[in-house]
């Protein structure tokens, strides 16, 4: 009796059964509470000093530089890839799409091992690179490679989704009016999917910024060269928990900003 009464009032409120609200609140608390815990744990008096220490600033600078570079790599390679996946049809396309998305679900440490055996000194490409005098391991380039590897699927996925959602009507019209494929791409296709491209780019940047496992496995950890913010947090935790918490808060804030930006884009765009 009570149940049906609750259900009716819930349906009046939101079209949802009443029992859904308790677990929903629990689920929300489950996600939000740990973030609150970080904020509560921050030593505010020492916060400015902690996030502006040499090690922290070096890590912050390196993170911003590498995440920007890897986002650029994702754009250069990921946009054409998404176009091919969305607009072409050839045997093996579905398999290719699945493979491209693998880093999305792969544990990052596995990605790191895979990269090590590709670009490492004794890896598939490593020995050829060594002949050319290029040493990837333990360099900033290794960090960028690791980040681009894990971040690219985010860009490809959101851009491909946007492309498929838009269809090819306008492009066909443009083509019949005599526009070359390059002009169609530049003047019609990309402007149409700009919101999807933008949110994909922000997601890829955020994922790059948060990359940890593959970097640790593949690139090593040295201040100013390969030790990005997440690696700095991991190391500071060993000796100075307050520093680790302060830097964690910085990353939480970045994450919140990214979500706000991408959600905003999505609701106004698509």
């Amino acid at each position: 009796m009570l149940r049906s009464g609750q259900q009716r009032s819930a349906q009046q409120r939101a079209g949802l059964p009443g029992w859904a609200f308790a677990p929903a609140a629990l689920g929300a608390a489950f996600v939000v509470l740990p973030l609150v815990a970080v904020v509560v744990k921050v030593d505010w008096a020492a916060f400015p000093a902690l996030v502006t220490s040499d090690a922290s600033l070096a890590a912050l600078r390196l993170s911003l530089v590498t995440a920007s570079c890897s986002t650029a790599v994702c754009l250069l390679l990921g946009v054409p890839l998404a176009l091919v996946l969305a607009r072409c049809s050839f045997p093996g396309l579905r398999l290719l799409r699945s493979l491209v998305l693998v880093p999305l679900v792969l544990p990052p440490v596995v990605g790191g091992i895979a990269l090590l055996y590709t670009f490492g000194r004794q890896g598939l490409l490593g020995s050829s690179l060594e002949v050319l005098g290029l040493r990837i391991a333990f360099s900033t380039a290794a960090v960028v490679i690791a980040q681009a590897f894990v971040a690219m699927p985010f860009l490809v996925l959101s851009l491909e989704g946007a492309l498929r959602g838009r269809g090819t009507r306008y492009e066909q019209v443009a083509a019949t009016l005599g526009a070359s494929p390059s002009i169609v791409l530049r003047r019609v296709t990309l402007p149409l999917v700009l919101p999807g491209l933008a949110s994909g780019t922000v997601l890829a940047f955020a994922r790059s910024l948060g990359e940890f496992g593959a970097t640790l496995t593949f690139a090593g950890s040295l201040q100013g060269v390969t030790r990005t913010l997440p690696l700095e947090v991991y190391l500071q935790r060993e000796s100075d928990a307050r520093g680790a918490v302060a830097l964690s808060l910085v990353l939480v804030v970045v994450a919140v900003v990214v979500i706000v930006v991408t959600r905003g884009r999505r609701t106004e765009g698509v």
Binding site: R3, P17, W19, P23, L116, G120, R121, Q122, A137, F138, L216, A219, G220, S221, L222, Q223, V225, T226, R227, Y234, L235, Q236, R237, E238, S239, A241
Partner: protein, 273 residues
Amino acid sequence: MRRLRLVALAVAGTAALLLSGCASSTPTGTASSTTTTPAGSPSSSSLVSTGTLTVFAAASLKSTFTTLGEQFEKAHAGVDVTFSFAGSSDLATQIQNGAPADVFASADQANMTKVVDAGLTAAAPVPFATNVLTIVTPPGNPKGVATFADLAESGTALVVCAPQVPCGAATERVEKATGVTLTPVSEESSVTDVLTKVESGEADAGLVYVTDARGAAGKVTEVTFPESSGAVNTYPIAPLSGAAQPELAKDFAAYVAGPDGRAVLQAAGFGAP
């Protein structure tokens, strides 16, 4: 109605699964962990104790403690020894935050001191082993590293532990003692990370514990250096006050520090305390 009940059942079931899943990792959850100690035998009470003993031990103790755990189980019927191997500072933090551990074995004094200062040990820590650093190179030592000073050569890609972790602190002490300034290409968070980078051939040389080098014999070449004696890490062990198995915890700590423990540790390359 029926569907609602089904969903409620599923939710309850999932919650129960989650809870039991979490509980199974804590030894306190095992109902059979009653220690039936007869009044007659106070010191050898362990012989009749049953249940799960949870040991938090430094990562460098993995192979030796796994062996010792198996031997301890054989000598104590009904006892199940489980381990959590990780960096000593990680383990100390976990214990301070209420992790369910019966015994703590640290790779250095500093992290044991944290636990002692927090009032979480049931008895004074006992040193049971020592460890020193050694140089490891990929098999065959392609860069021809022969001395500690060779590690500072610019063409040698050197990987060490970060100063924040025990093996890195030891590396810093050797640097200070020898006056050699190292320029590593990477400072790793754990000694195993250093080892894997040398094993995979990414690094030309690494500084790890003697015991790690022995454990990876065949995959790396060991180059000992006399200056290593300037930084000896002492491993202490202590039963914890929050132990679900206080008697077993004391027995295990004594077992590790005793002759049986000594034999296994020595075979792996650990020094006497």
